[in-house]
């Protein structure tokens, strides 16, 4: 914990001496956009694994539905990536 605080202190001091924090806001935007789909894909895949463990006979149908769910939620993260390149 102390090491983390020391590192953050050092980073802010360096940034202030260099004249402020510069960089691209696109990167921050993409990083924020990737939080939601990350959690979402985890929820979809986790529930699919749990359902397959409860009833292994329908594992085939569950796998197809899992891919569908992952595709829908991951599309939002990819919109973020697209806007990173465009913005």
């Amino acid at each position: 914990m102390d090491a983390v605080l020391a590192l953050v202190n050092a980073a802010t001091v360096l940034a202030q001496e260099a004249g402020g924090i510069t960089g691209n806001l696109n990167v921050v935007g993409y990083g924020l956009a990737a939080i939601g789909p990350g959690i979402g894909v985890g929820i979809v895949a986790g529930n699919a694994v749990q359902a397959m463990a409860r009833q292994p006979e329908v594992a085939g149908m569950l796998r197809v539905t899992m891919f569908l769910g992952i595709a829908f939620t991951e599309a939002l993260a990819l919109f973020g990536l697209l806007l990173f390149f465009i913005g």
Binding site: V64, F67, L68, A71, A75, L78, F79, L81, L82
Partner: protein, 270 residues
Amino acid sequence: MDPVILAVEECDFVNEPVCAPENVSELFVFETTLWNTPITRTIFLMGLAALIVVGVLYFAYRKPSLIRSKFQTAVDALTGFVRDEVAIGIIGPEGIKYFPYLLSIFMFILVGNLFEITPLINFPITGRMAIPAFLAVVTYVIFIIVGFAKNGFGYLGGIVWPKSVPWYMRWLVGLIELISYFFIRPFSLAVRLFANMVAGHVMLSILLVSGFVFLMNIPEIPVKGVTFGLLWFALGLAILVFELMVAVLQAYIFTLLSAVYIQSSVHPEH
């Protein structure tokens, strides 16, 4: 001679490991034309992918017989998978009408995505927005026309005024469904494929090329050259294997979602 190769040959890799040629815009002048249409690398590779798909299917089904040879068994596995899992599995028994279209886009996108990892052609043709956009537009046109052909104008009524929701929320759910069906679905279908392929291509280019540059300049920067060179190159190779999985998965997901959208037009009860 290729302007890219000429421009790169002016670079002096010893003194400046990363160099950019002065006149970059000259690199975008295409000199190979066919009836005044420029032939670029993308167009050539697209034609090659189409040729490969047609060739594989032609040579597999030229002489159908009950005892299949090895190549025929392999292609059978692919077409049987698309027919049983995707066309008939998702759309139902009428899915066999849409099976040729689904098989075509599945194989074309699969070959196009696999071009990203083949050694001499490290470039996915689906990484140029025109190709996924056109395929998504074709799917869009198909599912709209099928919706209106099977259900008449009740198709639009069923979307904006869904009867399976309590009456006070029908306008809101109907609005959301309208925007989702007619605007978000084709757009997300195209962007999903495009962004996956572009992200993979950019990551592979940066990791492998920078690893190579570090490894090539080991005499000047011994410590950084060895550590970063090996690190980035190894990570690039790991991402190469991951991209194989992403390529096959994205082709399957595009086909699966096209089948799901067609199914929601053929059987619009939710």
